[in-house]
């Protein structure tokens, strides 16, 4: 039954893919509209959602400590002393992720039917989208690290395919390449981490790792190194500093892709990994510090850049990076459960934000610059209201979902033995930034006077219905994690083994104080920013005064240029040199030389063919002479 969760979207991929390959892509074939292919793909993912839901219900019925459903698909590797089977495992953590992936995935598939209705190759799009879902589900359902890694690589591949979906545009294709290559760098860390774990624990199954790690540490396992290596994989996949550069460029893909992959699912794969190995992480406080530090820094850094952007999708991209930093901050202070909670709520409102942005872009005929938008509230009321729900959620306004998850992270950052006031302060600052730039986005796009030059209309129902569903979830989804009766915390406890202990000296009442203060701060920031942007001229003047800072932010701290000069150009130069000097100069020359030697030898040998009989006779005499001489030596 577990296999069904993965097989359904896989089948969808195959059907759509084969249909596309054989029928739609041949010349003269009638181009199918997005409806038939989209419905097939949506049905596949919905089937998967139903199976995931069934699995979840089964788990609910089980006693709390024994919530595991395993399914072995086939025996995979049996080499020497190493045995690994292809096993899928559903436990509280993976079932949450499955529900999110399939649920949000279904909504995004429905949305795509409307969004991609004018695209020329919808079969290919939906095939890739299904393949992505299958790979992501494999990632979260894998019972051991190699199985998870297959999914990990699979989502990287699909990310490349989907970002570069309009591959005839070379910039978009380059964005796809950038995503894949930068991800690869992180994957190296993942693989090395796997090696260290196997060497010291002797197994790559997650349950075995969790139970065996403490004794391995006693036997001298470099657990900090292993944790940091795995975290390196997360830095790539989940776009933290310094490997985040691919995510803003990935906005070149279709907007539903950005919603699914770069908001709700793929980038959260790193958080899933951290949660899965949290028993190991808890034993390495050095690694935890690094993780939390990188997470906090990323949250602040990306938040700052988001202020300077004017492309609606780029703002959301940097916002995603910032929120991911939040999640890693949670993992780094020992609150992986809070991180997972934020994954869930973030998937709701970030997907909604992206889909809403897609709706706006669709209506604006492809325009993405928010300075050219404005006053869309009247023309697109459904998009407006759902976007507003997401905006309030991400800004942390109670009682929406984002408030609860963010607050949980801030509380744990403050109170956990691994945390500290600095982490809390950083998180608070990041929250302020988030509220501010999201409000800026909201007011520039939907409020105020209209600056749009095209006639704007609301999007079709296939696009707005998913918006409403996600809106409802963004509003109400937080209630699974209310402090005090955290259902999600209890649900995840057996898997994560996390402690709810606080540092000494922090009482329980501190939690409520922090809660109230973050709510107040969020509300204040939102109100101030709204007022600020009521007069766009004032905002422009403000930007002019601080234009040095603003330019730096707008150019994303020139990081891409820095990487280009420091890393990319030297590599390209070395490759060019290696090509010219070594490949062409040495290897090709050596091979050609063999040919030239043959030709020269042939020319030399040709001189013997004089055509004169007597020369041949002379040669025969010499030969006979040699033979007789040799024989005489033996005899004489």
């Amino acid at each position: 039954m577990l296999a069904m969760i993965i097989v359904a979207p896989l089948a969808g991929f195959l059907l759509n893919g084969l249909w596309y390959f054989f029928v739609q892509s041949s010349r003269g074939a009638k181009k199918a509209g997005s409806t038939s292919t989209g419905l097939l793909a949506t049905a596949a993912v919905f089937l998967s959602f139903v199976a995931a839901l069934a699995g979840h219900i089964l788990l609910l019925r089980m006693p709390s400590g024994a919530r595991v459903i395993e399914q072995k698909l086939f025996g995979w590797i049996h080499a020497g002393g190493f045995a690994l089977d292809f096993v899928l495992r559903l436990d509280p953590l993976s079932s949450l992720f499955c529900l999110v992936i399939t649920g949000v995935g279904t909504l995004i598939h429905i949305y795509s039917i409307g969004y991609m209705s004018k695209d020329s190759t919808p079969g290919r799009y939906f095939a890739y989208l299904n393949l992505f879902c299958a790979a992501m589900l494999l990632l979260v359902l894998g019972a051991s690290m190699p199985v998870m890694f297959i999914g990990w690589e699979g989502v990287g591949l699909c990310s490349y395919l989907l970002i570069g979906y309009w591959h005839s545009d070379i910039l978009k294709a380059a964005a796809g390449k950038k995503a894949f290559i930068v991800n690869r760098i992180g994957d190296l860390g993942f693989v090395l981490g796997m090696f260290v774990i196997y060497r010291h624990i002797g197994s790559l199954d997650f349950f075995a790792i969790s139970s065996g790690v403490s004794s391995a540490v006693g036997a001298g396992m470099p657990v900090v190194a292993a944790s940091l290596l795995l975290f390196a994989g997360c830095v790539g996949k989940s776009a933290q500093i310094p490997l985040y550069v691919w995510l803003p460029d990935a906005m070149a893909g279709p907007t539903p892709v950005s919603a699914l992959i770069h908001a709700a699912t793929m980038v959260t794969g790193g958080v899933y990994l951290m949660a899965r190995v949290s028993p190991m992480l808890m034993l390495s406080s050095g690694a935890m510090l690094v993780i939390a530090g990188v997470g906090a820094a990323t949250a602040l850094f990306a938040g700052a850049i988001a202020f300077g952007q004017n492309d609606i999708k780029k703002i959301l991209a940097y916002s995603t990076i910032s929120q991911l930093g939040y999640m890693f901050l949670a993992c780094g202070v020992g609150a992986a459960g809070a991180g997972v909670f934020h994954v869930i709520t973030h998937s709701f409102f970030k997907a909604l934000l992206f889909l809403g942005a897609g709706s706006v872009i669709h209506a604006m005929g492809g325009e993405q610059d928010i300075r050219k938008m404005g006053g869309l509230r009247g023309a697109m009321p459904r998009t407006f209201i759902t976007f507003a729900a997401a905006w309030l959620a991400i800004s942390g306004i109670p009682p929406l979902s984002g408030f609860f998850s963010k607050d949980e992270i801030l509380w744990r950052a403050f109170s956990s033995p691994f945390g500290g006031r600095i982490f809390w302060a950083a998180g608070m600052l990041a929250a302020v930034m988030t509220a501010a730039y999201m409000t800026r986005l909201f007011s520039l796009v939907f409020l105020g006077g209209g600056r749009a030059s095209v006639r704007v209309h609301e999007s079709p129902a296939t696009m707005t219905v998913p918006l409403f569903v996600l809106g409802a979830l963004s509003v109400a989804g937080g209630f699974i994690g209310i402090p005090g009766m955290s259902a999600i915390g209890h649900w995840l406890e057996p898997v994560l083994g996390q402690t709810q202990a606080s540092r000494p000296g922090i009482g329980h009442s501190a939690e409520w104080v922090l809660l109230a203060s973050s709510a107040a701060v969020a509300a204040a920031v939102v109100w101030v920013t709204l007022k600020f942007y009521e007069k766009p001229a004032r905002a422009a003047g403000f930007r002019q005064k601080g234009r040095v800072v603003a330019d730096v932010l707008e150019n994303k701290f020139y990081i891409d240029e820095l990487y280009g000069a420091m890393l990319v150009r030297p590599l390209v130069a070395i490759s060019g040199w290696a090509w010219k000097k070594i490949d062409d100069g040495m290897i090709d020359s050596a091979v050609l030389c063999a040919g030239r030697i043959s030709i020269a030898a042939g020319a030399l040998a040709r001189k013997l063919q004089t055509g004169q009989l007597q020369a041949y006779a002379l040669a025969m005499l010499f030969g006979a002479l040699a033979l007789i001489g040799y024989l005489v030596h033996g005899l004489g």
């Binding site: 007597q614 002379l618 005499l621 010499f622 002479l625 007789i628 001489g629 005489v632 005899l635 004489g636």
Partner: protein, 179 residues
């Protein structure tokens, strides 16, 4: 009975005449030297007790083959024998002669040193036995028609074929298509 003197005489002259035939300048001179060489070879054969072979040598070689050579030389004409005695060029000439000389030395060394060259295997046809059976001619002829009859007939066929071939080659062009 072997006459050593006869052997050395005929052998020496044979060598001399063949050298003249091989390296002579004048074509007719070459041809006649070769005739004389064949006569000397016949003498050697006789000294070795192969009387029939000696006589056949004179009939066939000195008598028929060389006549043919002289005919052809006359037909073609000495005037047109450009470069008749000239060699290939000094280098090739030198190399050729040197190589031949070296091969000769080697061969002699081989013969002298090996049992083949010095031993005498006894067979049924010693000089006395042959003399008792009626002489070399009779014995060899009997052999040719009994034991070697097949090669004899084959050689006959070869001769016929050669005759036909030679005639074919020499028929004038305009007659060839008709025949």
């Amino acid at each position: 009975m072997m006459n050593a003197a006869a052997f050395f005489l005929f052998g020496g002259f044979g060598l001399a005449f063949s050298a003249m035939a091989a390296f002579g300048r004048n074509m007719v001179g070459c041809a006649f030297s070769l005739v004389m060489a064949f006569f000397c070879f016949a003498g050697v054969y006789a000294a070795l007790g192969a009387h029939l072979v000696a006589v056949l040598q004179i009939f066939v070689y000195a008598g028929a083959v060389m006549v043919l050579f002289v005919f052809v030389i006359m037909i073609i004409g000495s005037r047109r024998m450009t470069g008749a005695g000239a060699g290939q060029g000094r280098f090739v000439t030198g190399a050729g002669v040197l190589a031949a000389g070296a091969a000769l030395v080697l061969l002699i060394k081989v013969f002298r040193g090996s049992a083949v060259g010095t031993g005498r295997v006894s067979g049924p046809f010693t000089a006395d036995a042959v003399a008792a059976a009626g002489g070399n001619t009779r014995v060899l002829s009997e052999l040719l028609f009994s034991e070697y009859a097949l090669p004899f007939e084959l050689v006959t066929a070869v001769l016929v074929a050669a005759a036909v071939c030679a005639v074919t080659l020499l028929i004038p062009k305009r007659e060839r298509s008709g025949s």
